[in-house]
Symmetry: C2
Subunit: 202 residues, 2 copies
């Protein structure tokens, strides 16, 4: 190895030692409350990525979609056709509120989705439950944030992971969450006239 | 409906009209250069979520992992065991640099991964190619950023989506990207002594 490489090896060995020392202090396991929020892309995709990770590990899991867009959802079809034995999938709601224009019906749908979510989380067989776009329903007060926070704090089984997605996550939720990621929009192709495309947006 | 609901319906109808009008101007289709960066979680998960989306739509796709951590990757096993007919999967490299401590070998691995990536992107059968953690290899200059930028600009087929993940994305890459999301860390459970857990971290 060159001198350069020797210096690099020494530096990296030091980094590794520091990292190993830190990681050794991380010994607890518990079910996490995970929030993906922000205006950027990837909130739902990252949630579905974690669900596929669970499926890959043969961990039973479940998805509740609180908002169903007008577009077909590929993930839903894939899970329902190939993995329905390990991942329950429920789509509630009729689309974004500006698609339906009926607040009473939206509230009813959101409440039904939340009741389904509670049932799935209470069932300890489910190791992860994804509540996709629940933040939208919470933002419009279709579901009471205090009820959600109280339920997660008091009734979520200790080892169950719950993933909540959607922009504008409420402060009360962020407060009790273990892992919060803000997806920030840096650049978006809609701005240059590119339409939503299969595989990317849906 | 109540007065409140009437007002809501009118407001939402207005929102929908405005949104429909904007969306109607988005008519172009093209393969996007998509970057997931930042210190937060979900960069790779969101990339894998998009790959599963493609798989769900029967779109041929491919993954090159530039950095392989010490931990087993569930997604890899799932794709290779269930979807190898539609999604090629290549893991190059031996782990993070502070795991291997051999810069010469790391460079060799990164170059091999980049050569595989070019081959997969040039093949128009692939509608999406995920270059997972390539930003790490670019950051350490194991791969030349100028070569990557030039290749994407000149040789990427018009309709192919390329997704590049990893923290510290270089400015040159962000410059040519169509869609950039910065995953920002708001809260992380390691800080409270929770270790990496199956289904969440790997």
């Amino acid at each position: 190895m060159s001198d350069d490489s020797d210096r690099h090896a020494a530096k990296m060995a030091k980094k590794k030692a520091a990292r190993d020392k830190i990681m050794a202090t991380k010994t607890d396991e518990k079910g996490l409350i995970i929030v993906h929020t922000g205006k950027g892309k990837g909130k739902s995709s990252a949630g579905f990525g974690m669900i596929f990770r669970c499926i890959a590990h043969d961990m039973r899991c479940a998805v509740v979609q609180f908002i169903k867009g007008g577009m077909s959802t590929g993930e839903r079809d894939l899970i329902m056709s190939r993995f329905s034995d390990i991942c329950a999938f429920h789509t509630m709601g009729e689309g974004f509120t500006w698609e339906t224009q009926d607040r009473d019906r939206d509230i009813e749908m959101a409440q039904a989705a939340w009741n389904k979510a509670k049932e799935l989380i209470r069932d300890e067989a489910n190791k992860m439950v994804l509540l996709d776009e629940i933040n939208i329903a919470l933002r419009y007060d279709y579901i009471d944030i205090n009820e959600v926070v109280q339920f997660l704090a008091e009734e979520k089984p200790h080892m169950t992971h719950v993933v909540l997605t959607g922009r504008n996550a409420k402060d009360e939720l962020i407060e009790i969450a273990d892992l919060v990621t803000e997806m920030e929009l840096v650049k978006h192709p809609f701005r240059s006239g590119i339409k939503a495309q299969i595989g990317v947006e849906y």
